[in-house]
């Protein structure tokens, strides 16, 4: 659902007309900047206090500049929750789900968008509903069944579930892309003697790579941020993902101000890194996910 973009997709470059500027215009800009400050203030406050010593926080409050950089809170917290392991768990889960989710979406969309199999409208509704359902309506049977087959409390269970849930959206988006797929390319491939399987991997996938990259990015970030199902399925310390580790700790234990902000900063950091890495793909995502 979180379709994102970070830059204005190119349009005719605006010409700032300096001569026309007058105070009213700057007033609007100033108001927008105040709002921007309000939006990022919580993150700034977190960053400032994550590197403060508890004594510094107690005597100078949340808004003061740290008297000196105090990394102990972050280091202690990192070690206490074995954060390196949680990062690895999150990373493996998100990466595998993103790859498998894209593959499954491609297979579904190949049949529905290019193959136009009978009843494709119903299949689309079927997949779309899978994406709409609240996870609460799936969780208990999934919990029960995974216990029966010995997959409970393993990353594997989460990977299977999210591959299916994410690919529901992927199927929906890719099918609409593949419906418009240039027929000449497919005809040329079949003239060259390529079967359906070869046409899929040699023609369809390479041509639609930009859209697949967008899907990969969405799936990765969405899976990274998931909380509800991982909270229920990944109960042992060794299997927790980043949001679960942080969320459980937060609601179970009393922590002091600087430790809490250290933990929040540790949680923010990977999200920000992905945001920066994936910026360009996400910008294109707006075009891929645009409403026609």
């Amino acid at each position: 659902m979180t379709v994102t973009a970070t830059r204005t997709p190119s349009r005719a470059p605006a010409k700032p007309s300096l001569r026309e500027r007058h105070p009213g215009r700057f007033l609007v800009l100033a108001l927008l900047l105040v709002l921007l400050l309000l939006m990022v203030a919580p993150l700034l406050v977190v960053a400032v206090n994550a590197v403060k010593s508890p004594a510094d926080y107690a005597s100078n409050g949340p808004l003061s500049v740290p008297t000196h950089l105090h990394w102990d809170g972050i280091v202690d917290f990192w070690n206490r929750v074995d954060f390196g392991l949680k990062l690895l768990n999150s990373f493996i889960t998100s990466l595998v789900v993103a790859v498998l989710g894209v593959v499954l979406s491609v297979l579904n969309a190949y049949a529905l968008g290019i193959g136009r199999v009978r009843g494709r409208a119903w299949f689309l509704v079927f997949f779309l509903v899978a994406n709409l359902l609240p996870q609460e309506v799936l969780v208990y049977p999934l919990y029960y069944l995974s216990k029966q087959i010995g997959l409970y409390d393993s990353l594997f269970s989460i990977i299977i579930i999210f591959t299916v849930i994410q690919s529901a959206f992927g199927t929906y988006l890719l099918t609409s892309v593949y419906t418009e797929f240039p027929r000449e390319l497919l005809d040329a491939a079949s003239v060259d003697g390529a079967g359906k399987w070869r046409a899929l991997w040699r023609v369809v996938v390479p041509v639609s790579r930009p859209t697949l990259a967008v899907l990969f990015t969405f799936f990765f970030i969405w899976t990274w941020n998931e909380f509800f199902l991982p909270l229920i399925f990944l109960i042992s310390n060794d299997n927790q993902t980043v949001p679960v580790a942080l969320g459980v700790l937060q609601s179970d234990r009393m922590m002091d101000a600087t430790t809490t902000s250290a933990s929040a900063l540790i949680g923010i950091a990977p999200a920000m890194v992905f945001f920066l890495i994936f910026q360009r793909t996400l910008t294109r995502g707006i075009a891929a996910g645009a409403i026609k």
Partner: protein, 299 residues
Amino acid sequence: MAGNSNTRSRGYGLYLIPGIIASTAVIVVPLVMTVYISFTRWTGIGSPRWIGADNYTRLFADANFWASFGHIILLIVAMAVVPTLLGLVLAAVLFDHVAKHFGDRWAAVLRSGYYLPQVLPVAVTGIIWGWILHPSYGALNKIMDAVGLGSLTRNWLGDPKYALYSVMAVMIWFQLGYPVVMFMSGLQRIDPELYEAADLDGATWWQRFRRITVAMIRPELYVVLVTTTIASLKIFGQIFVLTRGGPSNATLVPSYFAYKNFFEKAQVGYGSAIATVLTVLIVVLAVVFLRLQNRAERS
């Protein structure tokens, strides 16, 4: 279907097999099971005992159930209505004013900044605000004390009178960027000449906003309203981390209510009934929105 494309479409069905098997195992079977369990009494151990519609009659008499849906209505205001209205104005001002008079770069920077909260995991959002709003060591009360507003400090999340409003404020902060980004991408479609023509005709800013901006991005408007409304019905992570539905159920929401019955009270049948009602509500809502959207597109 023409004969030619008919022969071509044969054999593609094979490619649906993995998807159908996976979706059946992960979506269809659990969904059917939950609906079935909602008609039973079950603790999660042993076999479920059929009790007909008892869970539902109990549910509709449960004050907590109605309260949780009441809270959802306020959360729809905070997550769907307010961000959409604010987002409309912001997107229009960024597109029509900031980009025009100060350059695209300013508009892009502001938009990214507003969007920032959306990229964080919800659990982390909860941690940030849980700390800021904490009564004794939280940043907000400390700041208010420092600037002489000490009399207004509150136990923001711990007082049943204020907890839900605090959560609402957090959700507005969290959601605002999404409509801004969606609406601005929709505005790219607008031909600048439309605005120029309106200018020549002496249209006021408000008239241009209503007649051009809002009219042109109606598709995005629908999408944003549907997705944010459904997101408010599903809200769980922030509630779990911020308040766990408390204090004294003041911030209870359906998904947390279901979670509590499943995993804390071992009332799996009752939890399943809550989840089923929530699902029906979401699907009905989505269908209604889709119908409205189709009708709007046709006219």
